[in-house]
């Protein structure tokens, strides 16, 4: 419990902490506070969505049918898979299996890149079809409020996409550190925290998929 790591390159908890547990727990509280803030960061978009959907249900129904639910479903499966490999990566890091950690983190990056590629094809299709945020919208539709849906769609998926991009950067960073064999049963805080962030990104998508693609 109390043996200290002094090997060069190995992590030693910062001097203001009682021990490694104290450091880990404090970091985790910080991460959950950050995730609380993230929920509230996305909150206005969900509020805008629920208000406009309740006041213009027919426009949202029409707009949702203009999205390709098959691509949405595929991306949901991809993102869930990336969450799975992330969880396996955290598991491997906790057990000090360096090569497995790197492998699972690389797979997570692969899945998130597939997610973004699908998103790229969806966006280009919409841009060509004129399915753009209100003001730039130029697609023949029946309801004059349908463009509002696309404003919300691009804001929500765009903000989520930025989170995916940042996530790829973070996972790449911990993958490099895992390659250096910095993590093990004694110290895996960064892997754990990036994992929490990545699962949160998955969490947002779990709601975005039925809300945007599956209205009927």
């Amino acid at each position: 419990m109390s043996h200290t790591q002094t090997t060069p390159g190995k992590h030693h908890f910062a001097h203001h902490f009682k021990d490694a547990h104290h450091e880990f727990d404090s970091c985790k509280v910080g991460m959950w506070l950050f995730l609380l803030q993230e929920v509230l960061f996305f909150a206005p978009l969900f509020v805008a969505y629920s208000l406009f959907r309740s006041t213009h249900p027919e426009a949202f129904l029409e707009a949702s049918h203009l999205l390709n639910w098959k691509l949405g479903a595929f991306n949901t499966a991809v993102l869930i898979s990336s969450s799975f490999t992330m969880a396996l990566g955290v598991n491997a890091a906790q057990r000090g299996l360096h090569r497995k950690t790197v492998k699972y983190l690389a797979l997570t990056i692969l899945f998130s890149i597939i997610f973004l590629i699908v998103k790229y094809f969806e966006y280009t299709h919409k841009i060509h079809a004129g399915l753009l945020p209100a003001g730039m919208f130029s697609h023949p539709v029946q309801h004059d409020k349908t463009p509002i849906f696309f404003s919300i769609y691009f804001m929500m998926t765009g903000l989520h996409g930025i989170h995916v991009l940042i996530g790829i950067g973070l996972i790449f960073w911990i993958m490099m550190r895992a390659k250096n064999e910095e993590f093990g049963p004694e110290y895996f805080t960064p892997v754990e925290l990036v994992g929490l962030y990545w699962h949160f990104v998955d969490l947002v998508w779990i709601y975005l998929f039925p809300l945007l693609y599956l209205i009927r």
């Binding site: 506070l33 208000l51 699962h199 039925p210």
Partner: protein
């Protein structure tokens, strides 16, 4: 050793992963059937079950401290306050409260004239 850290085993990870995929199929299947008024609540119920699995197992909140659980779930209380207060404004406005833009501008232009009260 970090003996008090809960490690989610590979087996449990796989079970959660499989369940999440099944629920994704379920939500797609549900969207292709018509349950009338229950379409939206059902979609949200399935999404919430999936989200709970991710939060409690993948994010390990089930095995985490009460403090972290309180922190995270309080965000949804704030979200609920946000939605309820804004809805209470927008959804219960009378139809005649809404004034289109052009009428506001017209009202400014003729502000010196008498505005009828009602």
């Amino acid at each position: 050793m970090n003996t008090h850290h809960h490690i989610l085993s590979v087996k449990h990870c796989s079970i959660i992963f499989g369940t999440l995929l099944i629920f994704t199929l379920l939500t797609v299947a549900a969207a292709h059937m018509d349950f009338g008024y229950f379409n939206f609540p059902l979609a949200m119920l399935i999404a919430t079950i999936k989200a709970s699995l991710v939060v409690f197992y993948f994010m390990g909140l089930k095995f985490d401290s009460t403090e972290n659980r309180v922190i995270f779930f309080s965000s949804f209380i704030f979200l609920a306050i946000f939605i309820v207060l804004i809805s209470s404004d927008v959804l219960f406005r009378k139809a005649d409260v809404y004034v289109p833009h052009n009428e506001i501008f017209n009202a400014k232009k003729f502000s010196s004239e008498e505005v009828p009260h009602d």
